[in-house]
């Protein structure tokens, strides 16, 4: 992983695409808005534009996921992590921008190619209690994708595959006839992982898959993720707000704030030397045994409303290093070291230039 970054040292383009991206996003945005009510439609007919609030959940994200890596995506709740993950998995369409899977634009995919993308990018959901159909038995949950997409398989073959999938995620084969409510959170999450894996995906979007689990079970599920990645050569987008988990798992980390990626760096470098003030604030809050940190201060203030983002840099109202420039000018993404980008005015002069 590190080697590929070293070779990219001479590269200058800010949005340079790393070698062999499995999934790449260009200027990807997602806006949520409501349907105009009748009165507003009538206003429109009269030539006046009604003011319908627009929520910009994801604002112009450029990001590439390299084949085989684990990309951590970190941010406060409400910053658009899950929305970005859902767009990558093809569950939500993008409002603007383009998503490319294996070099081909997803928007243009049809037929078999579209199915390859749909099945190739699978998702593991946050809440193991609502992500399984409560009226389906485990065997039926796991067999359904095979029945739909692999009509060539016989019943015995499907049966064998379901058993293999259960064994793979560490569940007993005798559980096949149970309903989801008969399992614990950790077991349900394993079923969710088995369901995603049964269609043999290449890329797994993990949307805070351990946030809803007991601490004692979190480690087991994390190890399961790491085992499966080795076995199947999977690529992960690992969404989390737990920095220690991300540090353990990820090769690269993207920090997200109010719908934008504010910093992207290899994990070791990010934790050793965080650049963006927001990243620094986040890292200061990790509890540590070594320095016996006892007092914690939350990041000052709250995440601004994505309905009315602050002008300039979205982080400036909470930033300890804010300058007058920050409230006026939107900071551009700059490459400050090989494989590292940051969007902050503090590094305006640090950009690697040709």
């Amino acid at each position: 992983m590190m080697d590929s970054q070293q070779t990219a040292a001479g590269r200058t383009e800010v949005t340079s695409v790393p070698e062999d991206p499995i999934l790449s996003m260009r200027n990807l945005s997602r806006v949520f808005t409501r349907q105009p009510v009748l009165a507003e439609t009538l206003l429109k007919l009269l030539g006046r534009t009604p003011d319908i609030p627009k929520l910009r959940a994801v604002r112009s994200v450029d990001l590439s996921v390299r084949r085989g890596e684990v990309l951590g995506l970190v941010g406060e709740s409400g910053c658009g992590k899950s929305t970005l993950g859902r767009m990558m998995a093809g569950i939500l369409p993008a409002s603007q921008g383009a998503l490319a899977y294996e070099g081909a634009e997803v928007a243009g995919l049809r037929g078999t190619a579209l199915r390859d993308f749909t099945l190739g990018v699978q998702m593991v959901f946050q809440d193991p209690y609502s992500s399984l159909n409560p009226r389906q038995r485990v065997a039926s949950i796991l067999a359904e994708p095979l029945k739909v997409h692999r009509p060539d398989l016989s019943r015995a073959e499907i049966h064998a595959r379901v058993d293999a999938a259960l064994a793979e995620v560490g569940l007993d084969v005798s559980y096949r006839d149970r309903f989801p409510h008969q399992f614990s959170g950790g077991q349900r999450q394993r079923i969710g992982i088995a369901r995603a894996l049964i269609v043999e995906p290449r890329f797994l979007v993990c949307d805070e898959p351990i946030a809803a689990l007991d601490v004692s079970i979190q480690a087991q599920v994390i190890n399961l993720f790491l085992d499966l990645r080795r076995k199947h050569n999977l690529t992960y987008l690992f969404i989390s707000h737990d920095l220690s988990v991300v540090r353990h798992m990820a090769d690269r980390v993207a920090i997200m704030y109010l719908g934008e990626i504010v910093e992207l760096a290899p994990t070791a470098e990010l934790f050793a030397d965080p650049k963006h003030p927001y990243t620094r604030t986040l890292l200061e809050q990790i509890p540590s045994v070594r320095n016996r940190k006892r007092s914690f201060s939350a990041v000052k203030g709250e995440l601004p409303s994505p309905l009315a983002p602050p002008p300039g840099c979205p982080f400036h109202p909470r930033c300890p290093a804010a300058m007058p420039q920050c409230s006026v000018e939107v900071p551009q993404k700059r490459q400050i070291a090989p494989g590292r980008t940051v969007s902050c005015h503090l590094y305006d002069k640090d950009q690697i230039s040709t």
Partner: protein, 310 residues
């Protein structure tokens, strides 16, 4: 973190496997249904009505639809009187000499049949419309739901009256009229519960696994949003029966030769002032018991199915 890798503790089953038909919860639900004496009585009454309806030809002493089986000589006999050939009219006879008890038993069968069939048909139509509206959304949803509003906006009795005035009498036509006015109730409830199911993560997962809209709709969303509609249906059977009785009473329901409870009440209406109260009274009581039992059981079922109130 690797050191934490230990034998999985969460592998122990949470619940021991139970056969579906006999879970403790289900047994508890039936127990809850039975406990109250009024509900117990209603359940017994419904059971008796259904059983008599099933083996009527053996039970009734007279076929009230066979005009040759009774004689006008026996007309308007009070309860407990005897016919000239020795038959006892337990509940008296009507204006044509029909045995009221037999007529009531046959009438109940018609009422129950109309209630069950029309509710089942309305349920199927309403559930499909509500589901399609919730899942497809957009213009289709707007059109379907405005249609539902339109149907619900009219008084149901008025719509049924106009419809029957156009297409004529008959059990099948009454059923059609009731379905026409009742499906909209189910559609509205189904849409709202399907809307809330649709946003759950298992539905997203189903889309993500490349399942078609139809499969997601009928295999995933529908089974999980049916419970509210099914409870409504138990109560709606009673209201379908009431509607049928009302229509028959008003003279547009079932044909005169096959009297239902409502028609029997209507027939006796002419004789009320002349003292022959039993022709209207006993069918009325039978209707009351039938509807009251259905309502009580349906209401209790709603309580029993709601985990928050149990």
């Amino acid at each position: 973190m690797d050191s934490i890798r230990s034998p999985r503790k969460d592998d122990e089953p949470v619940a021991v496997r139970q056969p579906l038909t006999d879970t403790p919860q289900r047994r508890a639900m039936l127990g809850k249904l039975k406990r109250r004496p009024s509900v117990k009585a209603s359940l017994i009454a419904l059971l008796v009505i259904t059983l008599t309806g099933l083996c009527l030809p053996f039970l009734a002493q007279q076929d009230p639809y066979d005009l040759t089986a009774f004689s006008v000589m026996d007309n308007r006999l009070p309860p407990m009187s005897e016919s000239f050939d020795g038959m006892v009219f337990w509940l008296g006879t009507d204006g044509q000499g029909r045995d009221m008890l037999s007529a009531i038993l046959y009438g109940m069968r018609i009422s129950l049949l109309v209630g069950l069939v029309s509710t089942a048909l309305a349920l199927i139509i309403g559930v499909s419309v509500g589901l399609v509206a919730a899942v497809l959304g957009g213009r289709i949803e707007a059109m379907l739901m405005r249609l539902v509003d339109f149907v619900l906006g009219f008084p149901s009795i008025l719509v049924a009256l106009v419809l029957l005035a156009m297409i004529g009498r008959g059990v099948d036509k009454v059923i059609l009229a009731i379905v026409m006015v009742q499906w909209a109730n189910y559609a509205r409830i189904m849409r709202s519960s399907a809307l809330s199911e649709r946003r759950k993560e298992y539905v997203e997962a189903a889309h993500n696994l490349g399942f078609g809209t139809g499969r997601v709709m009928f295999r995933h969303i529908m089974p999980n949003s049916l419970s509210a509609v099914l409870v409504l249906a138990t109560v709606q059977i009673a209201s379908a029966i009431t509607l049928e009785a009302t229509l028959s009473f008003l003279g547009v329901g079932v044909p005169v030769t096959e009297p239902s409870l409502g028609l029997l009440v209507a027939n006796g209406f002419d004789y009320l002032m002349s003292g022959a109260y039993w022709i209207s009274f006993y069918p009325g009581i039978a209707l009351l018991i039938l509807i009251f039992s259905l309502n009580l059981v349906g209401d209790r079922l709603r309580t029993a199915l709601d985990p928050k109130r149990s």
